[in-house]
Symmetry: C2
Subunit: 379 residues, 2 copies
């Protein structure tokens, strides 16, 4: 008997109570009950994003909201910095090129964080740069970019800072207004503990101003259209009703536990997992700013990381993630964000130990579990 465990960095497990809440009969998306629900979703999102800005909701995956942050802010030919320290950073370049804009690529070695001075220098060098696109947590490497510091840099320039926080929001603190983040993007299927299908974008005053001059075409993802309708608690188009019901349930759950406690719990799971990695004599892929949302581990010399991932999947129905693109075969990644308990983390650690041993790696079996237990015991 195998129990499926999702421990990859998204989609993450959904609390069963939330799944069942979403299974109740639909209500009509133009009914007063739904408008009232939409209002509560807006208020809950502002609380989660820690912002007074409007947080727009889209029926799409997180990439849809990323797409919207290009088509609603830029005009053809516009230059924007793309911080590329992993696969999701590269997506900004693809997006800008798809829209006929001019990416200013800031390549960061995978496993490292961008240096705010690099962004500052580029912006000083070319004041026509309209925006800086960056991930809060680059899911492909496990690195957290220094968002607060980047916001300090963009604040003194004309450029708008766009932060993809799909993997980060709800995993650790990203206070939109306190840090002065112009646009923050997220999605339902990671730390927000829901199935995929909802994406979010908070839009601050500097972004709203840039939006007004944008001439790129947009319709389904038009911020102007959605600001007008969502401002009165309606989506411009048909809203995915069950995900709204689910989101309200998640807001209740976050309220019960406390957002700061969730950040702490996520950090403890991350610390415990990273202690296990050290106990195995292995190294993190992230050489600096290793995030608490997930851990990327370098597989031992001579062992294909995909074999570790495959071993867990085939033998134990445990889903962790491998590396993407240049990191494929070299790393495996385990999530700590969302509805994952310390025992899920211990399960992952045990399973990885069994896989590593099975694949011929020499280490003291149980050492990772013990190291993690120690952290959990102290927390």
């Amino acid at each position: 008997m195998k129990k499926v465990s999702l421990l990859a960095p998204g989609p993450t497990p959904v609390p069963p109570r939330t799944m069942l809440a979403m299974a109740q009969p639909l209500i009509h998306h133009r009914s007063s009950d739904f408008l009232e629900m939409f209002g509560r979703v807006r208020a809950g999102l502002k609380k989660l994003f820690k912002t007074d800005n409007e947080v727009l909701t889209f029926c799409s995956s997180g990439t849809g909201a990323m797409d919207s942050s290009v088509s609603n802010l830029l005009s053809p030919g516009d230059k924007a910095i793309c911080v590329r320290g992993g696969k999701f950073g590269e997506r900004w370049t693809e997006l800008l090129e798809a829209y006929g804009c001019t990416p200013v690529n800031l390549d960061v070695e995978w496993g490292y964080a961008v240096k705010p001075e690099q962004v500052e220098a580029l912006l000083k060098d070319d004041p026509s740069i309209k925006a800086v696109y960056v991930q809060a947590l680059e899911t492909s490497t496990g690195v957290a970019h220094p968002i607060q510091e980047l916001a300090q840099v963009t604040k003194d320039s004309d450029a708008v800072l766009v932060v993809d926080a799909v993997s980060a929001l709800g995993a650790y603190d990203i206070p939109t207004d306190e840090w002065g983040l112009d646009v923050v993007i997220s999605g339902s299927q990671k730390a927000m503990m829901l199935p995929p299908g909802l994406a979010f974008a908070s839009i601050g005053p500097k972004a709203l101003k840039l939006m007004e001059s944008s001439t790129l075409p947009k319709f389904y993802f038009s911020w102007a259209k959605e600001l007008k309708t969502q401002g009165i608690n309606k989506g411009a188009f048909t809203s995915p009703v069950p995900l709204f019901i689910g989101l309200l349930d998640i807001f209740d759950l976050i309220e019960e536990i406390g957002l700061d406690n969730i950040f702490k719990e996520t950090a403890v799971k991350s610390q415990a997992f990273k202690a296990a990695v050290a106990a195995w004599g292995l190294e993190l892929f992230s050489k600096e700013n290793a995030s608490t949302g997930l851990t990327a581990v370098l597989a031992p010399e001579g062992i294909d990381a995909q074999d570790v991932v495959g071993w867990l999947k085939e033998k134990y129905a445990i889903f962790i993630a491998g590396g993407q693109a240049q990191a494929k075969g070299k790393i495996f990644r385990v999530a700590h964000m969302g509805f994952i308990s310390e025992f899920d983390t211990l399960k992952a650690i045990s399973a990885i130990e069994m896989a590593l041993a099975g694949l011929g790696y020499k280490f003291e079996m149980g050492a990772g579990v013990a190291a993690a237990q120690k952290i959990f015991g102290e927390a």
Copy 2:
């Protein structure tokens, strides 16, 4: 005790068994189990659309797929005919304008169907027209446009026919390949009996050719990108896993009942409801080609149709729809598509009778119910 009844033309009720199927724990969207599921979804969609064309799936509402049919087919300045016989027809014009294309508006009086000769004349007059955009069922008026005849007209031209079948597909027969429809768009929340959140587009050879010359920007809704990945059973971005599980359950349900039987049942519900309307001495809003998917009814002289809609909602928790834009206050609309039984239809008829009587309309109470019962008895 009030039981909520959804009888508006979308979102329609979802079978409880499907809702519960979707409540099961998530699986990973890159797992082999999900790829296998994606393959079955593709096969099921081809069967439902009656096509050998690829039917792409998007995580969005139906409007997202409409948006994609402009950005993936046209280039800036391109001309395309927009058949505008209602609110959804007008959306084509908005879309074309948003993308800097040139709409050739073919205005049809609300309540009437487009005449294929009009489209033929426009295409002959201007062979540079790239596409014809039309609704199969114009949800705002209840009219079914003559899609088969329109396809005959476009077949002999260079123009691609794009059919919005969001409300129509699964309600009545729209055989994509037999009729030669280049692009057919649909969504999950109407006759497909699922919550909103999935949209579809079948893409034929003529559309694929036009796609190759299209220079409008696209990323999230890129057909080329999705054709490449969905052809090997993967979404380019994160797929909304529960809706895929739900869709497979709906395919099972359709298989059990038989698609043709569903069309017949929908037609009988429509016929019964329309018999009730006649028994009340009222008229349909659709003066021709009244669709079987839904019925739009002109409210009696002196009664605001919104009061009928409001009466059902407030007193009985029954959701039907009012009119949109120019039809607001004049009509109310009741759906027959999807998971709606003959007794749901009789419930709607009873409730409307009680509302009409309450609002002062003089007619024989129960006459509509009896007329509908007769139709159901004969069927």
